[in-house]
Amino acid sequence: MKGTNLGEFEEMVLLTIAVLVNEAYSVAICDELEKTLSRPAKLGVVHAVLNRLEGKGYVKSKLGEATSARGGKRKRYYTVTNAGKAALVKSREMREQLWSRISDLALKNI
């Protein structure tokens, strides 16, 4: 199951983690995703994806501080690993390569 390809939603989550830098924990990621996607992101789904990304080695996590809103439970902060960075870059390059092969004319005629 441990493939290395990056799904679309996985990519979004990974990017969001990169955007949030030091503040990337599950609830914050959810909120950020909702803002960018302008559709609700389910906590359960995000959790599952985070779990999968960690399994693939694209993110790593550590426990942070506790807050009263979390009922005294600590947050788990995620950061993008080198492998994660490489996967993001690769995915971006793939897209750009494809984009570059589309002629302006062809796009206009669609």
């Binding site: 959790h47 599952a48 426990l63 979390r70 788990r76």
Partner: protein, 888 residues
């Protein structure tokens, strides 16, 4: 404004999450859920927030979050279960008395459970051997005449409806028709055997899975005058099953007014014997098409309201077609209702699988138990088992003092709540499995008595022990064990280890004392009611058996003639020296037989009434000591060929407008009975005609003369050696009739048989009373031990201070005495009212209830309870105070 209360997510949902979630993910998930909860609290309100929390907990239940069971935990679990079983065994052996009481109490009640399970398993295996049993329906109907509906549906329908369904209905795969009464004496060559069977059409083999050993299922029952034998009857008749094409002669009718007929049938098939668990039972099948010929003259046969003898089964393609079928039936009844005056026939369909367990129908093919009986039995068993479980709970908690130290140590070493719960559940399951062994023995003992309660039970149920049944029994025992042990387990798991080890009296066992008292009162109330009711029933039974019927039944043997000539038998029997007199009669009165006709007073021909009658010879009235209040008995010569004379009872006098004080006036008057003018020659004192408790139905009775109509020989016998006399009579019988076995019963025995239902409920009642008394005694014992144990020290100190034993006994038992008195005070009036208002008014000529039954029941119950009380309290009261107090 009030300060906002702290709202938290549902506790149980949090626990659930903690239970299933991997520990390394738990903290994060919980935190997230809490954060969302707080957020939702502000926006959506407390209720919605909690709901969303719960939903999210369920949504997180995913493959990656679930905690995987670890091998080592499983291993430890197994080792611990072994240890629990070991400690259970030890504690069983240590407290032999309690273990015995516990096991015996559970076993007694479980035996009832086993009986019910065996019964249900039998009932639910009925008719399942038919391959397509789930698609077969029986057409049942309800008869309505002149706006008056029958209460119940009937299992039978009319031959006309059967023909219509067969010929014109669509969407059905097959129709099977059965018709009552293909029975009689079957003769093959010299051999004659009585066989009973049904008329059936060729659809029977299409719908049902009766397997033909010989013959073609398509055609076997098609042609008129065909017969299909079961393997057993074929072997009995021919000694072989290769009998296709052979013929047999069926002799039917001949008694009770039916026309005697002899017809030849050709054997077209032999089928496997009908399995025990089939509600359709027969020894042979005659082709239904025969009736088209034999009943061609009979206009009743195909009339729409001839609803009493035909059963129709339909095999539908699937369940959707059942609805269509019902709609078709409704249309049929709308059309055909017009053919008969004021009649409406309402159709319904009954699945084959429901026949033995479903609604109570009239006119069933064979004996059925009916849903209501099954439900009542189940409810009784449930109450008994529940009450035994409660006792177990009660006793276990009462004994908690002896176990708490063990628990304290277990907990100190590191046992968790769940371990303690497991330990006690294992213990109670062990006890209930031990009880199962005892219960199984009891079950084997009680089974024949249970089946003997009612004649039909023996025909319906086998209750054979099979591996499947044993598996059900074990499952039942485990469930009972879990249920009984649940509350003790929860109770013990809450025990605080430190407190227990520090101070024994700190256990919170005093809670729930009131509930337990209520339980005792309830159980004793039921005990008193059950035993009193049984005694009342016993009195009624004795009363009816020895009821003064108005004639003598002592030493009279009734021999059923079964179609033989009365004269022949009479001649043989009269030679025996033990025989003091012989009479003949059409029916045996007062055992539930009715035979009736219309009578008319020729002076007022418009006033006709239905009376019961018996047809006898001139010896009948003297033999039975019937008292004539006027006129005389029939004389042998007076009858001649033509029936001319009649004897009436006192009730009929009113019809003739003759005063009871002067019955002589009726003598010589003419009464028109069923079209014949008969002269009244005598008036007989009123006697019980139908049955002692039938409420005087048909109490207008006439006695007619007709030696040639006899069905029974009434023989007065004075014999010192009854078995020898019986064998002598049997020898005479065999010379006359070697087909049918002799059917001779003493009149008194026959009357007793008539009240078998009452006897059955009496037996069941006494068994139930015994059970409930056992169970409540055990309950009381638990409660007494509980109390005495807690008051040991108090009693010792009192004793040191100078209290006498008697005083202490009184002190310890007065609370219980009060409970028992309350139980009796509730139970007795309830029983009295139940019989006085509900039951006895429905029974005619019942015996009055006496003080005897009521006081005896209470005395027995109280006696047992006092014995228990005394045995325990005396033990405490006699104990040496020094022994008790020195341990402090």
């Amino acid at each position: 404004m009030k300060p906002p209360r702290e709202v938290s997510p549902p506790h149980w949902a949090r626990k659930l999450l903690a239970w299933y979630c991997k520990p390394e993910l738990l903290e994060d998930l919980e935190g997230d859920l809490n954060e969302y909860f707080q957020r939702n609290l502000g926006v959506k309100g407390a209720l919605r927030a909690r709901l969303i929390y719960v939903l999210d907990v369920f949504k997180f239940f995913r493959f990656y979050t679930i905690r995987k069971p670890e091998f080592i935990h499983l291993l430890i679990h197994w080792i611990m279960i072994g240890s629990y079983i070991k400690t259970s065994g030890r504690s069983l052996v240590r407290n032999k008395l309690f273990s015995f009481i516990n096991i015996a109490g559970l076993a007694i009640s479980m035996s009832v459970g086993l009986l019910i399970i065996a019964m249900l398993s039998d009932l639910y295996s009925y008719d399942r051997f038919h391959e397509r049993h789930d698609r077969i329906y029986r057409v049942i109907n309800r008869y309505e005449f002149n706006g008056r509906k029958d209460n119940n549906f009937m299992a039978t329908t009319s031959p006309k409806a059967a023909k219509a369904i067969k010929e014109s209905f669509t969407g059905i795969e097959g129709v099977a028709v059965f018709h009552r009464g293909f029975s009689g004496d079957v003769a093959v060559g010299e051999k004659t055997l009585p066989l009973s069977g049904l008329w059936a059409d060729e659809g029977v083999f299409k719908v049902f899975s009766f397997r033909l050993l010989q013959g073609n299922p398509e055609t076997a029952l098609k042609a008129p005058f065909s017969v299909v034998l079961t393997e057993k009857s074929a072997r009995k008749l021919f000694g072989d099953v290769n009998v296709l094409g052979k013929t047999l002669v069926l002799k039917s009718g001949g008694d009770f007014g039916a026309k005697y007929e002899e017809r030849e049938y050709t054997i077209t098939g032999v089928i496997e014997d009908v399995p025990t668990f089939s509600h359709i039972r027969f020894e042979m099948l005659g082709s239904w098409s025969t009736r088209d010929i034999t009943e061609a003259e009979n206009k009743r046969e195909l009339s729409w309201d001839n609803l009493w003898s035909t059963w129709v089964y339909v095999l539908v393609e699937d369940d959707r077609h059942a609805d269509a079928l019902l709609a078709n039936l409704k249309r049929l009844s709308e059309k055909e209702d017009k053919t008969v005056r004021l009649t409406h026939v309402e159709f319904a369909l009954q699945p084959l699988d429901d026949i033995m367990t479903g609604a109570d129908l009239g006119n069933e093919m064979g004996p059925t138990l009916g849903a209501s009986v099954v439900w009542i039995l189940c409810a009784l068993a449930f109450i008994v088992v529940l009450s035994a479980c409660l006792n177990y709970t009660n006793l276990s908690i009462a004994r908690s003092f002896r176990r708490t130290r063990e628990l304290g140590i277990r907990k100190t070493i590191g046992a968790q709540k769940s371990h303690v719960i497991n330990q006690f559940l294992v213990e109670s399951v062990v006890i209930s499995l031990l009880a199962l062994v005892l219960a199984f023995g009891l079950f084997l003992v009680v089974r024949p008595h249970f089946l003997g309660l009612e004649n039909s039970l023996q025909k319906i149920l086998a209750m054979d022990v099979s591996p499947g049944l044993v598996a059900l029994f074990v499952l039942f025992a485990v469930l009972v064990g879990l249920w009984a042990g649940l509350f003790p387990a929860l109770f013990f798991s809450r025990v605080n280890a430190i407190q227990v080890l520090k101070n024994l009296s700190a256990i919170p066992a005093f809670k729930g004392v009131t509930t337990r008292r209520v339980l005792i009162v309830f159980q004793y109330c039921i005990s008193v009611m059950a035993i009193t009711a049984t005694l009342v029933l016993y009195k009624q039974y004795k009363h009816f058996i020895h009821y003064n019927l108005g004639f003598t039944t002592a030493n009279i043997l009734n021999i059923r003639l079964q179609g033989n000539k009365a004269e022949l038998l009479k001649k043989g029997i009269a030679e025996l020296p033990e025989v003091k007199g012989i009479a003949q009669s059409l029916i045996i009165t007062s055992v539930g037989n009715y035979w009736g006709d219309f009578i008319k007073n020729p002076d007022t021909p418009e006033d006709s009434t239905f009376v019961g009658y018996n047809v006898v010879d001139e010896n009948y009235l003297p033999l039975h000591d019937h008292q004539l209040v006027a006129g005389q008995n029939f004389t042998a010569a007076a009858g001649g060929k033509e029936e001319r004379e009649v004897i009436i009872n006192e009730k009929v006098l009113q019809r003739l407008h003759v005063d009871k004080t002067d019955p002589g006036k009726a003598i010589g008057r003419v009464l028109r009975v069923g079209g014949k003018d008969l002269t009244i020659v005598g008036v007989v004192r009123d006697f019980s005609y139908g049955r002692a408790n039938d409420g005087g139905a048909r109490n207008e009775v006439i006695i007619r003369y007709g030696p040639d109509q006899a069905q029974y020989l009434n023989v007065k016998i004075l014999s010192g050696d009854w078995p020898e006399t019986y064998s002598k009579i049997e020898d005479i019988w065999k010379k006359i009739d070697n087909v049918h076995p002799l059917d001779a019963k003493f009149y008194d025995a026959e009357i007793e048989e008539g009240f078998q239902g009452l006897k059955g409920s009496m037996k069941a009642g006494s068994f139930l009373a015994f059970l409930i008394i056992c169970i409540s005694s055990i309950g009381l014992l638990g409660m007494v031990v509980f109390t005495t144990e807690t008051r040991r020290k108090e009693v010792s100190i009192r004793k040191v201070l100078g209290a006498t034993e008697a005083r202490l006994l009184y002190l310890l038992s007065k609370g219980f005495l009060l409970l028992l008195v309350i139980a009796a005070a509730i139970g007795l009036p309830l029983t009295y009212l139940f019989f006085d208002i509900v039951l006895l008014p429905k029974v005619a000529n019942h015996a009055p209830m006496g003080v005897m039954e009521f006081s005896l029941g209470v005395l027995v119950v109280m006696g047992i309870a006092l014995l228990i009380l005394a045995s325990q309290t005396l033990k405490i009261a006699r104990s040496n105070p020094a022994d008790v107090l020195k341990t402090e």
